[in-house]
Amino acid sequence: MSTGRFAVLYRKLGMSMQIFDLATADLEFVAEVEARSHQKIRNCYQCGNCTAGCPYTFAYDYSVSQIMRLIQTGQKEAVLKSRSLWLCGSCQSCTTRCPNMIDVALIMDVCRHMAREAGYATERSVKIFADSFLASVERHGRAYELGLMAAYMTRSGRVFTDVDLAPQALMRGKLPFKPHQIQGREQVARIFERFRKGGDNV
Amino acid sequence: MPAQDVRELRIVGFLCNWCSYGGADTAGVSRFTQPTDLRIIRVPCSGRIDPLFIVRSLMNGADGVLVSGCHPRDCHYAEGNFYARRRLEMLKRFLPITGIDARRFEFTWVSASEGQRWQHVVTEFTRRIHELGPAPTFNPASEADWNTLAVKAGQGQTCPCHG
């Protein structure tokens, strides 16, 4: 499995292909993905229809069908560290067209959850955006674009994100300066609290 | 389904030769594992199955009886399974009157190509029978060695009205 870790590193550095030791396939990982997604990974016969339809392939490090293959072969680390998980737009093209009726988008989602839980975030900015978004929902009960943008910029350090758009948006009153506070925002906040307290949320 | 430690129950199956018996064969050829409780009696057609056979099995202490024939319209003898369907449907309604739990008797249709389906049917029916447990018996002694009893059964005359 350590080969996995280094391989991913090498790969990032464009240094080498990675060699998978199939004998050390992490079958518990496969089982967990199947359990959390209620999908049968073995049903995938690698026709590539998901990759064929996926609009995000150009941005991926592993194509969807490769992710499916990596799961089949129990390459936990390679999967959870993959960039693709974070870049999947859940557009459902793969799920809709799979000849074996596998909910591929759901599997990507589940792997992303597991990656988060394992503390990976290969596409940091995506994670930060999601976190900022949820943070603003937790605070106000609804998404508050301006606040979320601010939070995102500070956290990601990308302070110039979409500054070019700000004027137009503001001018057209599309970015209200003050958030919509809803009465039930404590209720919403409690949802997050309880969630963080944990328990069985899988 | 019943692991080794679970005691087998007595389930009798009446299968038509052309579809269901073939389906059971297909299941075997494909190695579809099934509970071992079922004992299959082969008849040419589900239309040959006299309700008497089922009642006799149950009265003799069978815990369950499973009947299977060709799908309606697929009968090798054109319409045998239509007769079967009508007779067995009647029997199912009649059983409770005789004090027999109708859930201990089931009939279904399985074709020669449906090995998978046969596995499912057997597994489900066997599970049901095990949930119902052993059929109530009038005499615990009769739980004695099947073999010697069977020998006597063999020697004994069967009822005259069926020459």
Binding site: E123, D162, D164, G184 | -
Partner: protein, 294 residues
Amino acid sequence: MFKIAYYPGCSGQGTSLEYDKSTRAVCKALDVELVDIPDWSCCGSSPAHTVNHVLSAALSARNLAQVEVMGMDKVTTPCPSCLTNLRTAAHKMEDPEFRTKANALLDVPCNGDVDAQSVLQVLAENVDPELIKSKVVRPLTGIKIACYYGCIMNRPPELMRFDHHENPMAMDNLMTALGAEVVPFALKVECCGASYGIPRNDIVMRLSGKLLDAGRDVGADAFVTACPLCQMNLDLRQGQINRALHEKFRIPVFYYTQLLGYALGLDRAVLGFEKLCVDPRLALGKIKQPAQAR
């Protein structure tokens, strides 16, 4: 009078004000009564379901619970993203085990037997096309329109249960009924880049760019869409796209409710054309005045 609970969605308060306004106006005009969910909260959008399904479901379920309190069993929303979350929540909560988990996060538990539908579906299935035709005072004759549905309004079909998953027609039919010429736009359900505009702008540039390009190829004067996110990517970011791809797109992107309202002769103020970033006047100019239309 058709009555249904209404979930505006956060973007309706901000980036897609005009969508919300025009939706309300159009529904009013077509005798569809929208009853706002009192004190509704965010459905969690995609960030939530990328973090955890129970959390995501709970955030949506809070609103479904409100609907149940209202004593209604149907809710409609203009936003496909909200729609997906609401439907997914309701669907997942059919599983009692999951429902308990989700309700454990909520103050007010939710049964989840609320059917969420897009406003488009409500209009398509509950308003007689003939009625719409009869109410048209400004037919859209002369304008060429590409209908873009976005990726999740109809997919996956097992969940969304509306229209066609590869070639949806609801907006096409509507626009045709209004007298517009609908061009054969092939990428109706292709993804625009969704919420990656901020974290991975390059993705949106490429995907939305492709859509604009395809629209131009088939000679569209304008896009109509039913999704705030799609609209934002195609409209607000069109300038960015032009810079990124060295293009000169100038294709306005309407919400279908805006053009519907326009055709029904509603007050321009409620239609909010001025909120569009790409100036729609050129496109609207193509529409022949009723006098000529006849």
